[in-house]
Symmetry: C2
Subunit: 364 residues, 2 copies
């Protein structure tokens, strides 16, 4: 296996493959990153050794060129991890002298390329944040087009499975449309919201609560990466942005009418609730109902550990957990998400052990 690009994703792929006992070669234009990845145990520097599968994990804007190079130099089945797929595919066709989408006029190189995109990552990149479990249980989209050989498609699916991820196959266009909505639009909106804070007086910043914090968490993003992604998925992203802004403009217009018209506000909040209820549950498939048990926890060392030990003693599996805090808070509110079958025992044990509980709720 060869991994080109020893950043966060490439190094994590290499670590995952190494854990499964595979031989992994690494390449990177940066000697520093290459050395860091090597020291993490991700593999050895590639010096032309033959490989069965090449994973190209470089910035989206460079991906097509690097794929074309690797196809030219052998490289076995070549796949990539770029979060945009249509533009990579089109540029690759141009580079390989095969601008048509027809399998009948295909360049032989294209039969060995399978587009890929693991749905994993973090706000901050670099090999030092990599870990082998990064893809465990995640979806990993594959976007094979008509030219791909059955053998290469199989190799790409095998790679995804070896990394612990679940292959999800769709066209490059379907991928880009979906990601515009689920990933690219949220990033742009988080950045736009956070950018509004840049010019606010300090007094305003002091009143920021958990909601806006959650909504701007990803705003500390890498501008160069997002320039590549946004311009590389420009059409679908601009469409998604237009959908959002037209809905915001309609509500703003209604608010400016005299007296303010409440109908479109109500419709927006209701539609948001309907959309929110469609989000899949933690374990995929149909949403599972959790019981949420909120507990007041003093902001002192060891309290969170004590709470979770007490929760474990009740036999409940805490499936998720949310910490609410605000500046200056001497206590936090911890919400424990458990299956409905565990909620009663959990509440009883926690109350017995002196915790302050507030009423539970149910969440999809």
């Amino acid at each position: 296996m060869l991994v080109v690009g020893a950043g966060l994703i490439g190094t994590s792929v290499a670590l995952a493959l190494r854990e499964r006992g595979h031989r992994v070669w690494l390449a990177d234009v940066s000697a520093t990153r290459l050395r860091q990845a090597h020291e993490l145990g991700a593999g050895d520097a590639h010096e032309g050794e033959p490989v069965d599968v090449t994973v190209v994990a470089v910035p989206p804007g460079k991906t097509a060129r690097v794929i074309a190079e690797r196809i030219g130099e052998g490289g076995g089945t070549v796949t990539d991890t770029a979060s945009i797929k249509r533009e990579v595919q089109q540029e690759l066709r141009r580079l390989l002298g095969n601008p048509s989408e027809s399998a009948f006029t295909s360049s032989p190189g294209l039969s060995r390329y399978v587009g890929g995109h693991p749905l994993a990552g973090r706000e901050r990149g670099g090999p030092l944040r990599a870990h082998p479990a990064m893809f465990a249980g995640r979806a990993w989209v594959l976007t094979p087009d008509a030219q791909v050989s059955a053998e290469s498609l199989e190799a790409a699916r095998w790679l995804v499975t070896e990394c612990g991820a679940t292959p999800v196959t769709m066209t490059a266009e379907e991928h880009d449309h979906a990601l515009a909505m689920t990933s690219h639009l949220p990033q742009i909106v988080a950045s736009a919201l956070a950018s509004q804070l840049a010019t606010q007086p300090d007094a305003v910043l002091q009143l920021v609560g958990q909601a806006l914090r959650d909504m701007t968490r990803i705003a500390a993003a890498d501008p160069s990466l997002w320039v590549d992604i946004a311009t590389g998925n420009a059409g679908p992203l601009a469409d998604a942005m237009d959908g959002l802004t037209s809905s915001l403009q309609q509500v703003a217009g209604a608010l400016r009418s005299v007296p303010p018209d409440s109908t479109s506000v109500r419709r927006l909040i209701e539609a948001g609730g309907a959309g929110h209820s469609r989000l899949p549950g933690k374990h995929g498939g149909s949403p599972r109902s959790y019981h949420i048990v909120p507990v007041v926890v003093p902001d002192q060392p060891g309290q969170l550990a004590r709470l979770l030990a007490d929760a474990a003693a009740s036999g409940a599996n805490v499936e998720d957990l949310r910490v609410e805090h605000a500046p200056g808070l001497p206590v936090g509110l911890i919400e424990l998400f458990v299956g409905p079958e565990s909620a009663h025992a959990l509440r009883t044990v926690l109350a017995d052990r002196g915790w302050t509980l507030t009423d539970e709720a149910t969440a999809p």
Copy 2:
């Protein structure tokens, strides 16, 4: 003390005051809510007994009318908890026959009213979610205007402090401008983003990651409450929405140019990073740097508790904690936020005890 409105906020105020040993009366148009709040120990039904301070915690659209009634019936110092302040103040002036803002033509009733807004709350309302620590350490904005007596202002500040909150004084206009940005715009945007999901194919929903989940968490909101808030703060909210949409439109326009223009994308992501870095740290004041220690945790009962017990054994105070998960994930990634002084000991102890750590980062 009298609390009018035994919903989430009113009942929490009553519980907080009861914990401090005060006598609390309750009123609500709903006999069910009143009984629930009473059974939670929040106080007894009010039957005209004289009170020193009245807290009006009813929906924003009804707040001014209820304040005016209570001022008419005695009620001592009257304050409220509505998340909009300017419109409540103006409607109250109209109701009390005193449309001027001048202290010299003031109605005597206005000298007893201090606008208030505790910055606390949850997605879901009702007395059963109430708890006495809801305001602990939170900011509680007071918006006294020129007519308020020194005695009533003092009583309002005392109430806030008794509830464990920190009084922050500003004008009603300043409050509404700040909240439009920090609370109302985020709600509208979360709802608008989530509403886009309502019409997506299932395949798109399956690709939703943590970022969009975080950004739509509050979309399960109460439409009636938000109609009141949005129309009650229509001007500042529409201004904030316009600021956001014009920034989104500029970027969408740049993406539609041929070839897509990357400058405004880069500028937006950079401005978002700058705004994000201004968010205050957990304990208020200047942002504190945390070290983030990410740990891979198997999705099995008791693992989170074991992790936090091991963390406590290292002497580190886990100041915050974030759980990352995705549908189907057999392991989770838990990020522990600790002070820089604790990070090394924490990593050493966790590694000794067999945890898989990935590299730490620093976050404001």
